[in-house]
């Protein structure tokens, strides 16, 4: 079981980053972005298509990341232009529509679960070290390091740079930020593009473990949302921890034969438990206010 939990940590680092991207998009541009992983999957499949054609893997990775960033930026620009004054629910609904459209296009272009699985490059599959019977693969360390690096870098960028401060101001008071000269649409497109590129990289990292079809990878949005909920769509370190917890839970469930086939339910269980846990106080208060 410990081996499975360790293996789960490698996905956990990726999940943490996906959760982090959800939190950042929500905090900085006030959108719950359901289309995020579909955009990342699109970039990942651009990359794998290019490597299948014989292009150098690093160049293909760069082109994939840029294409995901560009696609995400276009969506961000569209939302900033036409939905800036709308409620969060409306903006989320727009991203749900984009998710459905992108998934349909992706499955059409790259194939479904049974026909579209691709061989993603897996340069980090070798073990780093073995303790007793527990094997720790490189992918665990790379994934964890990437997650911690991005979390720390984003935290520093938000608090130590002028752009970061402007992003904080924008997230707190979007209208006021604009009237003091902060270019909200430009910054919003920057956030969307950055999130698109990071999501693509994370998807490339977790694809060898999860299976390489478009639908499965685009569907990672449910895991990303569960992880973001652990951090209450706000707290970056808690989101990081949430990703690792969800990864470990998935790893554990994979090691028990009787529940292995229900592994995909883990994110929804996490969402359910968090919704129940967070609403218990409201129930208590309501009962006592009568």
């Amino acid at each position: 079981m410990l081996n499975s939990v360790i293996a789960g940590l490698s996905s956990g680092g990726g999940y943490a980053l996906l959760g982090l991207c959800v939190v950042l998009t929500y905090r900085l541009v006030a959108v719950v972005n359901f289309a995020m992983t579909a955009v990342g999957a699109m970039g990942a499949f651009v990359m794998v298509t290019l490597t299948d054609e014989g292009l150098n893997v690093w160049l293909a990775l760069l082109i994939g990341a840029v294409s995901a960033a560009a696609l995400s930026g276009v969506f961000g620009a569209a939302l900033a232009r036409w939905f800036a004054g709308h409620r969060e629910g409306t903006k989320a609904a727009v991203t749900v529509a984009l998710f459905v459209a992108l998934t349909a296009i992706g499955v059409r272009l790259f194939g479904g679960t049974s026909t579209g699985a691709r061989q993603f490059p897996n340069p980090f599959s070798d073990p780093v070290f073995t303790v007793g019977s527990v094997v720790v693969p490189q992918s665990v360390l790379v994934s964890l390091a990437f997650a911690v690096l991005i979390t720390v870098a984003v935290g520093l960028m938000l608090t130590r740079t002028r752009v970061g401060l402007k992003l904080q101001a924008l997230s707190e008071r979007p209208a006021t930020a604009q009237v003091v000269g902060i270019p909200a649409p430009v910054l919003a497109v920057g956030v969307w593009s950055g999130v698109g590129a990071i999501t693509m990289l994370v998807i490339v990292l977790v694809a060898p473990r999860l299976g390489g079809d478009f639908g499965t990878l685009a569907g990672l949005i449910s895991t990303a949302l569960a992880v973001a909920m652990v951090g209450a769509f706000r707290n970056l370190p808690l989101t990081l921890a949430g990703g690792l917890i969800v990864g470990c839970l998935e790893g554990m469930s994979a090691s028990v034969d009787s529940i292995q086939k229900y592994q995909g339910v883990v994110p929804f269980l996490v969402i359910l438990v968090l919704l129940w846990w967070r609403s218990r106080r409201e129930v208590w208060d309501t009962a006592h206010s009568r």
Partner: protein, 268 residues
Amino acid sequence: MTAPALALDGVKVNRAEVPVIHDVTLDAAPGEVTVVLGANGAGKTTLMDGIAGLAPVKSGTIRLDGTPIEKLAPYKRARAGLGYVEQARTTFRTLTVEQNLVVSQSGDGDLGTVYKLFPELDKRRTLQAGYLSGGEQQMLVLGRALVSAPKVVLIDEMSLGLAPMVVRRLMGTVGELAGMGIAVVLIEQFANLALDVGAHVHVLRKGSVVFSGPCEELRGDERRLHRLYFGGPPLSAAAGADPAAADSGGGTAPHNGSDAGKTESELE
């Protein structure tokens, strides 16, 4: 005559697709405080939002130093030299005093000028804006407008919820801003305080300008102000008021700055 720093011509502004401001024409000269008065719901804040770009201008032109800005995004208007002090002390609460100023700083904007004008802020540079008192928050919002090196500053109800002593202090600062050559457009609930510091006044009723003229014409004349606000004589004086001067409906008052300088009875 000095060319206006801000000039509105036939401006119409909608709020949620409902017309609120109708054909407003007014100017604000550099180095002067231009006061905009009116009852609650007259459209003062909508007018300011329209100038700043937060509410859509349906027609008419807004010129800042002669350049039309009505089609620009709000941040581009700010960068062109339009500062806006919104209602309700809109600080960025999680940022420190200094960070609030830094995110707004542009061009020739200088933090030192703000700290000189408001020494209270200098002592609290590293404190989060959310922990400042109401007066200090208002100072910070004024300072934030100042560090963007503005040509025009719009100030909307800065006295809201503040102690009279603080309001008087801030009114003095408004005069100082004008002394720096900035055109200040001031909306204020305390009409007499605003008229004391202002040079010209425009009174709005139901989205239209019903009076434009020098502040001294209205200074201390509460009865006339009341009639301009509500379109009729004050209730207590209704019996003795001149019926010819009273507005019959209040909704059809003539409106636009081409009538600047006329009295309200001329307008009506």
